[in-house]
C-alpha cells in the first residue's frame, strides 16, 4: 500500500470526530464516526518497579483505573478510551505489563457491564531496543522481549496495540541540538522509515493473530523532543516546526504496513496522517500540559478523533487524584466538540477555525498544524514515491510555508528565528534528489559509535 492521493482532500471535511475510515471496536465503540472520545493515560508516581514492589504497582493501577472509570460514569461520558503506556520495566518483564493490562481490562469490563459505558483499551509497549547501545533493532533479547510484550498484552485484553518507536533516534537527538537538517532527514527519511516498515509488519502480524487492532506510532521521540527543547529556548522554533513536518513520511510507513489508527495521541503529525490515510487519530493539547507544556494547546483540537492528556502521574491534587482530574478535563473538552458537531459540520468547522486562529499566528509549530497547511503540504508529500523523497519534500514544503507566512505577517518571527529560517532553507537546498547519493554523502558524518547501521539494512 502506497498512498498517492489525499483521503480528505477538502478543508470543509477535515474535522474533529469524523474520518473516512472510522474504526469499530469489538464492543461497538466507533472511533472517528462522529464523536470525539477522551483518551486517558496515567502513570506511576515516584516508585521503583521490582518483583517486590509489584503488589504496589498493581494497587496503583487499580486505584487509577477505578478513579477514572467512576468519574467517567459520573459525568455521563459517551465513551472512554484508556491508554496504557508501559514503562520500560513493564516491557522488560513482559509478564508484568500483561498483568497490568488484565487489571485495566477487568475494571473496564465491569464498568461497561454495570453502567453501559463503552470503553476501549490501547496498550503501548515501550521500545526497549535502545537498552542495547548502540541499539539493536532486529535481534537480541530486547527485540524478543518487546514483541513478546505485544503478544502478552494483546492476550491480556488490549483492544489496540501501539508503540512510540525510536528507530533512527540514536543519531537524531544530536541532529536536533546541532540544528543539522540533513542528519535529521537521514534519521527520519532513511533510518526511521526503514525501521517502521520492519516493525509494523510484525506488529500487524501479531495483531491479526491475536484479533486486536494495530493502531499507530508516534514520532514524538523526534519532534516532541524538539518541541520541548524549543519551549526551553534551546533550539529555534522554526527548526522544531520543520522537524514536525519531517516526521510525516516516517509515521505514514506504519499505515503502509498495516496500521489502521487511531494514530497515537502524542503524534502531532497526526493531522497529516489523517488527511492522507483517512484513518482516525488521537491528539493532545492544553489538557496535556500536565505532561508537557506546548505552544499548540488549542490548534491540536482541530481534527482529533480521540482527545488525550498524554500522561499524568498518580499524585494527589486538591480536587482528586490527578488521573481523575485529568479525565474530567478531557470529558469537558470533548463535550464541547460533540455539541458543536451535533449542530452540523458548519458549526464544527467554526469551532475548529477558532482553535486554529487562537494559536497559529503565535508559533511556527502551530502554523504547520493549520488544517489548510496540513492539506497543502500533505499533497506535496504524497506526490513523492519514497520515504526519503517525501521527507526531503517535507523540508522544502514546510520551509516554503513558513517563509511565506512570515513574509505575509501571519507569523511574527524574531531576528534569530529568521536567521534560522534562512539557514535551514539553504541546508534543504543541498539535499540531493537521489537517496543513494544522499546516503553516500552523509555516512561519513554519522557517529558510528552511536548507531549500528546494519540494523537498518545499510
Amino acid at each position: 500500500m502506497n498512498y498517492s492521493s489525499l483521503a480528505i482532500p477538502r478543508l470543509s471535511d477535515f474535522l474533529f470526530g469524523v474520518c473516512p475510515r472510522p474504526l469499530t471496536l469489538k464492543n461497538g465503540l466507533v472511533i472517528g464516526g462522529g464523536q470525539v472520545y477522551p483518551e486517558i493515560n496515567f502513570t506511576l508516581d515516584s516508585m521503583i518497579i521490582t518483583a517486590e514492589s509489584m503488589p504496589q504497582v498493581y494497587e496503583q493501577y487499580t486505584q487509577m483505573i477505578t478513579g477514572v472509570c467512576d468519574r467517567a460514569v459520573e459525568l455521563h461520558a459517551p465513551g472512554l478510551v484508556v491508554e496504557f503506556e508501559l514503562l520500560p520495566d513493564l516491557t522488560l518483564v513482559p509478564e508484568w505489563g500483561a498483568e497490568v493490562t488484565k487489571i485495566l481490562r477487568s475494571t473496564l469490563d465491569e464498568t461497561e457491564a454495570k453502567h453501559g459505558l463503552k470503553t476501549g483499551l490501547r496498550v503501548t509497549p515501550n521500545d526497549i531496543r535502545e537498552f542495547a547501545r548502540p541499539p539493536l533493532m532486529r535481534q537480541g533479547r530486547y527485540v524478543e522481549d518487546m514483541f513478546r510484550s505485544f503478544e502478552l498484552c494483546a492476550e491480556a485484553g488490549a483492544d489496540m496495540l501501539a508503540i512510540e518507536s525510536t528507530g533512527g533516534k540514536e543519531i537524531h537527538d544530536e541532529a536536533i541540538l546541532n540544528g543539522d537538517l540533513p542528519m535529521s532527514v537521514f534519521a527520519l527519511g532513511v533510518l526511521g522509515s526503514r525501521d517502521m516498515a520492519y516493525l509494523w509488519e510484525r506488529i500487524t502480524e501479531i495483531s491479526r493473530r491475536c484479533g486486536v487492532v494495530p493502531s499507530g506510532d508516534s514520532a514524538c521521540g523526534f519532534a516532541n523532543t524538539a518541541m520541548v527543547l524549543a519551549e526551553q529556548h534551546f533550539i529555534p522554533r522554526v527548526w522544531a516546526a520543520v522537524i514536525r513536518v519531517l516526521t510525516v513520511a516516517r509515521s505514514l510507513v506504519a499505515f503502509e504496513h498495516g496500521a489502521v489508527g487511531p494514530n497515537k495521541d502524542c503524534a502531532y503529525e497526526g493531522p497529516y496522517i489523517k488527511a492522507i490515510t483517512g484513518y482516525p487519530i488521537a491528539l493532545e493539547g492544553a489538557e496535556a500540559s500536565v505532561a508537557h507544556l506546548s505552544p499548540i494547546g488549542n490548534i491540536a483540537k482541530a481534527v482529533p478523533d480521540l482527545w488525550s492528556n498524554e500522561s499524568v502521574q498518580n499524585v494527589k491534587l486538591l480536587g482528586a487524584m490527578a488521573p481523575t482530574v485529568s479525565v474530567e478535563q478531557l470529558i469537558y473538552a470533548t463535550r464541547l466538540m460533540n455539541v458543536a458537531s451535533a449542530r452540523g459540520a458548519k458549526e464544527a468547522g467554526m469551532l475548529r477555525d477558532w482553535w486554529v486562529e487562537s494559536d497559529s499566528h503565535l508559533d511556527p509549530q502551530a502554523y504547520v498544524l493549520r488544517p489548510d497547511v496540513v492539506l497543502k503540504i500533505s499533497e506535496e508529500i504524497i506526490a513523492e514515491p519514497t520515504p526519503y523523497k517525501r521527507t526531503r519534500r517535507s523540508a522544502f514544503a514546510a520551509l516554503e510555508v513558513l517563509r511565506q507566512a512570515n513574509a505575509a505577517g501571519e507569523l511574527n518571527l524574531s531576528k534569530m528565528e529568521n536567521r534560522w529560517l534562512e539557514r535551514l532553507s539553504r541546508a534543504a537546498e543541498g539535499l540531493p534528489e537521489d537517496e543513494d547519493e544522499f546516503i553516500a554523502g552523509i555516512l561519513p558524518q554519522v557517529n558510528r559509535k552511536k548507531i549500528a547501521l546494519s540494523e537498518y539494512g545499510l
Binding site: 516508585m47 521503583i48 520500560p88 537498552f131 547501545r133 541540538l177 546541532n178 540544528g179 534551546f234 533550539i235
Partner: protein
C-alpha cells in the same frame, strides 16, 4: 590583545582561528592559565550570556564549545605541565533504567564551557558503574540525571550505595531531571540540585566553594 581575540573567536565558534591564536599566544609566552581563563572560559561565559538573553541557541553554543575544545587540545599538555587546575571534575550519568540523556548532555556541555572537566558515563548507569567511575576518576562532583518517576528512586539507591562503598564523603552529589525537585534532592541527601543546565553550572561552582 591576543587574549581578546581568542575570546572573540570562541564566541564566533571559529575553531581554526581559536587553534591558531592559542598556539600563537603560547609562543608569545602568555601563561596557559590566562589563555584558558580570560580567553576561552571567558568567551564561553559570554556565549552563555548570549544564550540566556535569547541571542544564541544551543547549536551556536555547541559550535563555540567545539572551537574551545580545539584550543584546549593545544593547551592541555601545557596546562598539565604548569599544574593548572580545572574548575573541577564532574562524573555525569543518567541513572539505571533510564535512557533519557539530552538534559544531562546539556548540563555537561554547560559545565565544560565553564571550565569543568567532564566524564560522561552515558545512560542506564548502575550504582556500581558510578562507584567504579568515582574510584577511577576521583571527581569532585557526581551528577545524576533521571527523567522517569520510576527511575528517580534510583538516585536514592545510588547515594546509599556510595555510602556503603565508602565513597560518599569523597564527592559532592548533584541531581536533576524533570521529576526531581529540590525537596527530593534534600530527602535523599544529595548536596546539590538544579532545575536547568544554566543553574547546574552555578550550583556546581557553589558546591566546590562550600
Amino acid at each position: 590583545m591576543i587574549i581578546d581575540d581568542i575570546k572573540q573567536a570562541v564566541i564566533e565558534g571559529d575553531a581554526t582561528e581559536v587553534k591558531k591564536l592559542v598556539a600563537l599566544a603560547l609562543e608569545q609566552q602568555v601563561p596557559a592559565e590566562e589563555i584558558l581563563k580570560n580567553g576561552m572560559i571567558s568567551g564561553m561565559g559570554e556565549v552563555g550570556r548570549l544564550f540566556e538573553e535569547g541571542e544564541y541557541f544551543v547549536p551556536e553554543m555547541l559550535i563555540a564549545a567545539r572551537a574551545m575544545q580545539g584550543g584546549l587540545g593545544i593547551l592541555r599538555p601545557v596546562l598539565v605541565e604548569q599544574d593548572v587546575k580545572s574548575a573541577g571534575k564532574v562524573v555525569l550519568g543518567t541513572v539505571k533504567g533510564d535512557l533519557h540523556d539530552i538534559g544531562k548532555n546539556l548540563v555537561g556541555m554547560m559545565l565544560e564551557g565553564a571550565g569543568f572537566q567532564i566524564v560522561d558515563l552515558g545512560t542506564d548507569v548502575s550504582p556500581e558503574k558510578f562507584i567504579e567511575a568515582i574510584r577511577e576518576h576521583q571527581p569532585d562532583i557526581v551528577g545524576m540525571s533521571a527523567l522517569l518517576t520510576t527511575t528517580m528512586p534510583n538516585m536514592d539507591k545510588t547515594i546509599k550505595a556510595f555510602n556503603e562503598a565508602g565513597v560518599r564523603q569523597s564527592v559532592k552529589v548533584m541531581v536533576g531531571g524533570a521529576p526531581v525537585t529540590k525537596k527530593y534532592a534534600g530527602e535523599i541527601g544529595a548536596d546539590g540540585f538544579a532545575p536547568d543546565a544554566n543553574q547546574a553550572t552555578a550550583e556546581a561552582k557553589k558546591l566546590l566553594v562550600g
